[in-house]
Symmetry: C2
């Protein structure tokens, strides 16, 4: 009934199982790409809705820019192309011809097209046409789209050749305003991660060598997965005048002088779903935060005698009717009655593996006692997992209960994050010792063997080689710096910068 | 202030002007592709929301399938590939290398990938894995995505190499159920076209030679543009067992026998926006149906003395506050206060060219008289175009008024359609005479020189050549057949089938 593989047995295999048992996504015949199925896409739709609202509330409007970028445009920003050239789908032909029963590409294009891995270059070109005067600024836009990066080791949601995302692009008259935009949008990402996905994050700045190609500064939010590895959950880039110079985005400022504008870009993707899985799922399968669950409450009729069918179904329908105007998170409840022709025990377990927040079993005896059996997903496998409650009470309290369950999920993940940031490692030797171990599943309440280290970094480019050899990364330079001096955990040199070290996805 | 070109002067140029003056979209540096800007994308978002709701209400769930289709999969259905092979973007390489400062495609793929022009083949492959028994059926899914068809003469919204659409794909146990699905979804399209876009349509079946490649039957809705040409606004395909056989979608039926399943597919695209423009826009620019307008009411302050600024803005804000709980079409009103630093007359004309349903001008004198000047877009240029109304009255009635304006737009377009279907043409000679003229703008209340002809067709494949030579098409075989006998308007042979003949987009 539960999962074939536990987190402890084999964490990567457990992850794949959660995705497939919850029927969220599967590998496609299109190499390295995924089919996102209804339950996975439903979660994405809810993430999108919340994110889209916040993006609009902060003054941005949605646009749509093409997915093909002419090669010459891509080439305009030197660092940008250097950073992306390795992983691109290139369109070279616009036709197929049938040669002896086999289709072959034909009609070669004058200029090959890149399938967008991101869109700074082509959007910068539009900006250069739209921006004339300081009165035209700022321009604040966003796009929901698919993008392609030619990943060689794809994993569902975490790393696929095609994925879905939102990318914001803005132009500003001053450096300060553009920097403020960059951090404002990072704050939106933090808010959505923590309050919608129940996924606590550490916000900070990327070190020089981890920046977005072409950026002056990249800011990010980093989450801790249940195996102690980091997942970059969102990034926001201050691009300075780099793209403005390569695409010629100039404007006449208030003193009537020509000036290059300042741009930003920022994005989150379907990768967030991978983060949600590895933040919350357990050995019984997926656990979806109530706020983004396609269905928050699922009713499964328990029919022992066929004669009982109609009265049980009527009882369930009447409960659904009474829940019609109830809300959670300021929205109507999302309810499913599962009346498929299947054994009820299978149906209940299916919803548990999908991670529906509350599954209610209702049989003939429950009607007599005006009650129902509510199973709360986060407590499945524990004594609190089953509760017999009065139906009236359930109807009146379930909205609030869903909000509480969301809080409990956040609190649990937050505790795990806090308990697994080591701050007592002070020398390169201790550091090497710590990361000599491999990552493994962090059991609740017990610190994991390997997770995050918060410690000093000297910033010396030479230290990058040490990171590479240890297969660890600097996730970010957190915004809350201590200001103290200590030894760099890589080189042993004096250092003041606090950073987060971790293995990562 | 109005448009540079009128419909009468040059209809195609007028169309381009409407799109650009309303700031809805523009051509991209990516050849044949468009940039959809905020006002155009906002309209699309509203169409999407209404359509998505109806698609979900009819039991479908959203999925996401990859955009790359391996060449061999595309090849599976012979008619299908024949119909699409001419217009495809083909990905052949996965990397770029820098050769003497120039980027060149590198790492050729083992198998080229097609950028989806539609997705029947790859989805059919998934269906073949998911469907085992009649209990797994029906499968009802939908996808919102971008698609690519290599158009050689692109036009914004109407025909671009990349466009946005929704594609539904379903599998059924019986032919009858699949056929019902096909017409049910066509009915959803008709409903959304008429009641959301205010665009009347004729529903029917495509003739054999106009069917979707691989379909048994293609159903469609056809709208009449203001130049009398037809626009195919949505299609729904009954695919029979064609794709099931090529992809091996088999199931065990209730008699425990293996059987091929029946599939359907159906879609509408951003082309609908082109249809909305050519149904409603006038010589002053775009006219957006209130139901899909990103802003339904725009307030423009008329400030003659700078000292008045704050009290005028306060007055407008107070009206906005009072409109907070008012609704139209069961939703909150979408309101914009345009306080940009620009001459107010320019701002008002900008919103007229964008087609905002109601623009309100408010100056100091209006505060004194507790009134405002409301300009209703559909009446601009006519005496009813300006109304001074009491603010209280405006607040209480504007929601209903927006619904009335929507009705008026539909009624006007409906009248144009009805008045411009010629049914009195009875012989091939009269028919040839009629279509010897070219299409031109249909002035309100006057029948156009060339528009639709409803008449007989014998169905003989030889008649296709006549159609080609005259550059006209059979738009559909309408569902409401008269059952009478007459002469085919192409061949003069006896015929019973009523069809709609027209030039088309």
């Amino acid at each position: 009934m539960a999962m074939k593989t536990t987190r402890k047995q084999n964490y990567p295999e457990w992850y794949q199982n959660v995705v497939s048992e919850a029927d969220m996504a599967e590998n496609s015949v299109s190499p390295g790409c995924m089919v996102i199925k209804a339950w996975g896409y439903g979660i994405w739709e809810r993430i999108q809705r919340v994110m889209d609202e916040q993006i609009k509330e902060t003054g941005h409007e949605n646009y749509y820019f093409p997915m093909f970028i002419p090669l010459s445009f891509f080439q305009k920003e030197a660092n940008h192309v250097e950073g992306f050239a390795k992983e691109m789908a290139v369109v070279t032909h616009s036709r197929l011809v049938n040669e002896e029963g086999k289709l072959k590409p034909s009609s070669p294009l004058d200029e090959p097209l890149i399938v967008r891995p991101t869109r700074e270059t082509i959007i910068a070109d539009s900006f250069s046409k739209w921006v004339k005067s300081y009165r035209d600024l700022p321009i604040l836009l966003n796009q929901w789209a698919n993008v392609v990066r030619w990943e060689m080791r794809p994993r569902l949601f975490l790393r696929t050749r095609e994925f879905l995302w939102q990318e914001g692009h803005t132009v500003h008259a001053t450096s300060q305003e553009a920097e403020e935009e960059t951090t404002k949008m990072l704050e939106v990402y933090r808010d959505v991660s923590e309050n919608t996905l129940a996924m606590p994050v550490i916000a900070g700045r990327k070190p020089e060598h981890e920046k977005f190609p072409g950026a002056i500064d990249t800011y990010c939010i980093e989450a801790m997965m249940q195996d102690g590895k980091a997942l970059q959950a969102g990034t926001s880039h201050f691009l300075g005048q780099n793209f403005a110079k390569s695409a010629d985005i100039k404007f006449v400022n208030q003193n009537n002088e020509q000036e290059y504008a300042y741009t930003t870009s920022w994005g989150v993707s379907t990768r967030l779903i991978g983060g949600v899985i590895m933040s919350h799922a357990d050995d019984n399968g997926m656990v979806v935060p109530p706020r983004i669950a396609p269905y928050q409450i699922v009713f499964v009729p328990i029919i022992k005698k066929p004669d009982d069918t109609s009265r049980i179904m009527e009882y369930i329908e009447s409960i659904k009717t009474q829940l019609k105007d109830k809300t959670a998170f300021g929205e109507k409840l999302r309810i499913k009655i599962d009346n498929r022709d299947k054994p009820s025990v299978d149906k209940v377990w299916e919803w548990i593996r999908k991670g529906a927040p509350i599954v209610c079993e209702i049989g003939a005896r429950d009607i007599e006692s005006s009650g129902l059996m509510a199973k709360e997903r986060i407590f499945i496998g524990q004594p609190e997992g089953k509760k017999i409650v009065k139906t009236d009470e359930f109807i009146n309290s379930v909205g609030k209960r869903l909000e509480e369950l969301q809080q409990l999920m956040f609190a649990k993940a937050q505790k795990r994050l806090q308990e697994n940031i080591r701050t007592d490692i002070k020398t390169p030797e201790e550091f090497a010792d710590y990361f000599a171990n491999s990552n493994e599943w962090i059991e609740d309440g017990k610190p994991g063997r390997v997770a995050f280290v918060r410690g000093k970094w000297c910033g010396d480019p030479a230290s990058e080689e040490i990171l590479k050899s240890m297969k660890i990364t600097i996730r970010c330079i957190p915004f809350d710096q201590s200001g103290t001096t200590g030894k760099c955990l890589l080189t042993g040199k004096d250092a003041t910068m606090d950073v987060i070290y971790a293995r990562s996805y």
